[in-house]
């Protein structure tokens, strides 16, 4: 069999095994080992074990479990609820204020956790019942939280961007900086959409104004942030230490994890052994899941390289003689489709070994591509059949049908699609901040 034929077979086998319900990590291990043994001979298996362990033996990789600890500690505390309540005080006076408060809550929580499902779950638990109670249509309520939650992988610290940085050997600090402006802009666009919908449609039915108007003084508004401020300060400190060159992302992540654990204990009195176990067990489980996929994907990439598949597919893509724009469009379509079926981390780990040399050859900015890729993958989190955030929302709001949740997310999907086109036309939105603070990349 030629390399391209083996590649086609690998593609089919991978999708069948993944969709059969084998955990992603074990699927990749089983496929890598089978293909190595079948097409490379038994001798090709000699370095499987070392390859698997050594992939995990990286200090850069330590950033992943450390940020997961941060997310778990904040996620299991009432910080999300406090954040929502304090934002609600600021936005309750304007049309669509409840929805806007939730979207801003998602944006700020993303800056603390780095995980999309965690963001959607934490803000949604408080936000959705409150919105529904006050007359916000369920589709807008659930859609805003599902899509607001996706900001978790765009706004730093983002686990997806850390994995991308590791695979492509790109600076994680630069990637984090690149995610700031597009992330903040997306929050504002989502909020503008919520405001517009409320003004144009909901005011006519007066459902939103059915509840009595609330008023908070400036003192009450400011005091609302008293309990969440320490966490926001930790994020500010993380940013300062990382970009100030005082510590590497892994070191910053560990210090942030330590500070968040201390803060959660001091502010929310979460220090009993059972509570501490809950946080650490959740963090350990999620870290293991991600790191096993990382190690398995490295084995998968090793198999593809050993069988000369990576190079063959890259050569095949070069032979198509596509223009840069054609390639960008093709890659975006591929990522959108892949995002419908696979988790973001897996897509990056499985596809980047092939895409990376093509991007380099076409002189495409890797930082810019990371952000465009991330937004593509965000769309996958709120579209069927495997939109993770849709299932998270259904878990929070079991009374709302999946159809309503999906339809509620659709306008936000369209917003993100248009936003991707916008970022493709104006790449400076992504590269401006990292270039300004760290010099041209």
């Amino acid at each position: 069999m030629s390399e391209l034929e083996i590649g086609a077979l690998l593609f089919i086998v991978t999708f069948v095994v993944l969709f059969a319900g084998v955990p992603i990590a074990f699927s990749l291990i089983a496929i890598a080992v089978s293909f190595l043994a079948t097409f490379g001979g038994v001798g090709a298996l000699s370095s499987v074990a070392h390859s698997f362990v050594n992939e995990l033996s990286s200090f850069a990789l330590l950033a992943l479990p450390m940020f997961v600890v941060v997310g778990a500690a904040i996620g299991m505390s009432p910080a999300g609820k406090d954040l929502y309540e304090s934002l609600h005080r600021w936005f309750c006076g304007i049309p669509g204020g409840l929805v806007i408060a939730n979207i801003f809550g998602c944006g700020l929580f993303s800056a603390m956790s780095g995980s999309s499902p965690a963001t959607a779950a934490t803000i949604g638990k408080v936000g959705i019942p409150e919105m529904v109670k006050r007359g916000v249509p369920v589709r807008l309520a659930t859609g805003s939280i599902a899509s607001g939650g996706t900001l978790g992988i765009l706004i730093p610290p983002s686990i997806t961007l850390i994995v991308y940085g590791l695979v492509t050997q790109t600076s994680v600090g630069r990637l984090f900086l690149a995610g700031v402006v597009p992330g903040v802009l997306l929050v504002l666009i989502f909020a503008f959409y919520a405001w517009l919908v409320t003004v144009l449609k909901l005011r006519a039915t007066e459902t939103v104004n059915a509840a009595p108007r609330e008023f908070y003084s400036l003192k009450e508004k400011v005091s609302g942030f008293s309990r969440t401020m320490p966490f926001l300060l930790i994020i500010a400190a993380v940013t300062f230490f990382m970009y100030g060159g005082y510590a590497t992302p892994s070191e910053v992540a560990a210090v942030a994890a330590f500070m968040v654990i201390v803060m959660v204990a001091l502010i929310y009195r979460i220090y009993r052994l059972s509570e501490a176990w809950s946080i650490m067990a959740s963090a350990t489980r999620d870290s293991t899941m991600i790191l096993m996929i990382v190690a398995a994907a490295a084995l998968y990439a090793y198999m593809m390289s050993y069988l000369y598949l990576t190079q063959s597919v890259a050569d095949w893509m070069f032979s198509l003689n596509m223009s840069k724009w054609e390639l960008i469009i093709l890659l975006n379509i591929f990522l959108l489709i892949a995002g419908l079926f696979l988790p973001a981390v897996s897509i990056i780990l499985m596809s980047m070994p092939i895409i990376h040399p093509v991007l380099v050859q076409y002189d495409i900015n890797l930082i810019w591509f990371a952000i465009v890729m991330t937004i593509n993958l965000e769309i996958g989190m709120i579209t069927p059949p495997l939109g993770l955030n849709l299932f998270v929302i259904q878990g929070i709001a079991p009374d709302v049908s999946m159809k309503d949740i999906m339809l509620g997310a659709m306008p936000f999907v369209f917003i993100m699609l248009i936003y991707i086109v916008f970022l493709v036309i104006f790449p400076g939105i992504i590269t401006w901040l990292p270039d300004m603070l760290m010099g041209p990349g």
């Binding site: 084998v22 699927s27 291990i29 074990a49 005082y246 560990a254 210090v255 489980r285 190690a295």
Partner: protein, 187 residues
């Protein structure tokens, strides 16, 4: 451990139903998996403390030597030790797309095949992990860096963790059989 087990949704079974060999196997594999995860969680927490200490020590002018390698070794060991618990709590991400669209009977067969694939993948890693552990132990192989730790504990954690994950798979595969048997016993 009991508190932790209950907090994680572990099921309590009356003493009268504990005699079945499969049930005993289930209980012991699950207990070891949870114990192993507790060690992993402690290691992860100690990793947080070690790296925080390393940053602090460096910034106050102290020399650091073992911290970097220790934190890496700890993370690797924690990942393997927590793998069975992650499977036990359904934490390894998977996509049951085919099972959802295929007829129920075919879907059930596919589900068992999927579990067997996972089982053999874990068993293979446990086996090769054991081989490199024995090699590293007999040669006294050490890691790179200033501290240069022995590498066999790291490799052994792979062998142990993946073997226990394979056993956890046996528990999952036998679960319907065991439940049916218990159902018959109850009738």
């Amino acid at each position: 451990m009991t508190v932790f087990y209950k907090a994680q949704g572990g099921t309590y079974t009356p003493p009268s139903q504990r005699a079945h060999p499969l049930h005993l196997f289930n209980i012991w594999v699950t207990r070891i998996s949870i114990g192993s995860a507790m060690v992993a969680a402690l290691l992860l927490f100690s990793g947080v403390l070690i790296v925080t200490w390393m940053v602090l020590a460096r910034n106050i002018g102290l020399q650091t030597s073992w911290e970097l390698e220790a934190s890496i070794e700890i993370m690797v060991i924690a990942v393997f030790l927590a793998s069975p618990y992650t499977l036990h709590t359904n934490g390894h991400v998977r996509m049951e797309v085919l099972e959802a669209v295929l007829p129920i009977r075919v879907g059930k067969v596919l589900s068992i095949i999927a579990k067997l694939i996972g089982f053999f993948a874990c068993l293979y890693l446990a086996w090769v992990g054991w081989q490199i552990t024995v090699d590293a132990y007999s040669s006294g192989e050490r890691g790179l860096g200033a501290w240069a730790p022995l590498v066999w504990p790291k490799y052994a954690s792979m062998a142990f963790g993946m073997a226990l994950t394979a056993l956890q798979y046996i528990v999952i595969i036998c679960q319907p059989v065991h439940q049916n048997q218990r159902g018959t016993e109850n009738v």
